[in-house]
Amino acid sequence: EAGVAQSPRYKIIEKRQSVAFWCNPISGHATLYWYQQILGQGPKLLIQFQNNGVVDDSQLPKDRFSAERLKGVDSTLKIQPAKLEDSAVYLCAAQAVTDTQYFGPGTRLTVL
C-alpha cells in the first residue's frame, strides 16, 4: 500500500510569517493525526481527525494553529503567525481499523 505523503519536506520562514503543511494519508485510513516533534523530544499530538471531523484538538494552540481535513482525505495544518518555538518536525499519521498508525516523512520547519 502507498505510504503517507507530506509536503513540503523542509520550510524556512521568519517569525510572524504564516506557513501551511499538507498531508495525504493512505487511502481508506479514516483517522488522521498531526504531531509536533521538537528536536530531542518524542512527537506530541496536536490534533486528531476521524474522517473530516475533529476528534481531539485539546493540545492545538488555537490562537495560531489551525487544521482542516476536507472530504475526509487530505489535511492541511497552518501556523499563523509563526513563533521561534514552533521550529520542529510536523508529522502526519494515518490509522485504519488495525489500531496502528503509519507516519509520513514529516515537514521540518525552521523559524528564524
Binding site: 530531542g40 506530541k44 499530538l45 476528534v55 481531539d56 507516519f103 514529516g106
Partner: protein, 115 residues
C-alpha cells in the same frame, strides 16, 4: 495522565552485540504498547506492538519486546545489532478503550553502532 519514560538518552553498542532499550510507562490500566524507529530525515516506522496475549512480541528487523505488567515495562531487544540499526527509537502507549488511539511517546533513545 499517561506517560512514557525512556531512561537512556543515548546508547552505544558494537556491531554484533546484543541490545536492550528500556521503556517504562505510567497508565491506569494496561495500555496498547508500541516501539517505533526513526532514521535521520525519515518518519516513524513501526517495529512492533502489544495489545494483549503473549507478552513476548516479535517485530520486524529481528527485534522483539517483552511486556512485564509488574514492572510497567516494555523493553526492546535484539540479539545481534547491525550497523543499519543506528537510529532513534521511541516507545509509545495508547489507550485500549474507546476509538481514540492517540500515541503518547517517550523522549527517545539514540542508538549508535560501532563497527
Amino acid at each position: 495522565a499517561q506517560s512514557v519514560t525512556q531512561p537512556d538518552i543515548h546508547i552505544t553498542v558494537s556491531e554484533g552485540a546484543s541490545l536492550e532499550l528500556r521503556c517504562n510507562y505510567s497508565y491506569g490500566a494496561t495500555p496498547y504498547l508500541f516501539w517505533y524507529v526513526q532514521s535521520p530525515g525519515q518518519g516513524l516506522q513501526l517495529l512492533l506492538k502489544y495489545f494483549s496475549g503473549d507478552t513476548l512480541v516479535q517485530g520486524i528487523k529481528g527485534f522483539e519486546a517483552e511486556f512485564k505488567r509488574s514492572q510497567s515495562s516494555f523493553n526492546l531487544r535484539k540479539p545481534s545489532v547491525h550497523w543499519s540499526d543506528a537510529a532513534e527509537y521511541f516507545c509509545a502507549v495508547a489507550s485500549p478503550s474507546g476509538s481514540a488511539r492517540q500515541l503518547t511517546f517517550g523522549s527517545g533513545t539514540q542508538l549508535t553502532v560501532l563497527p
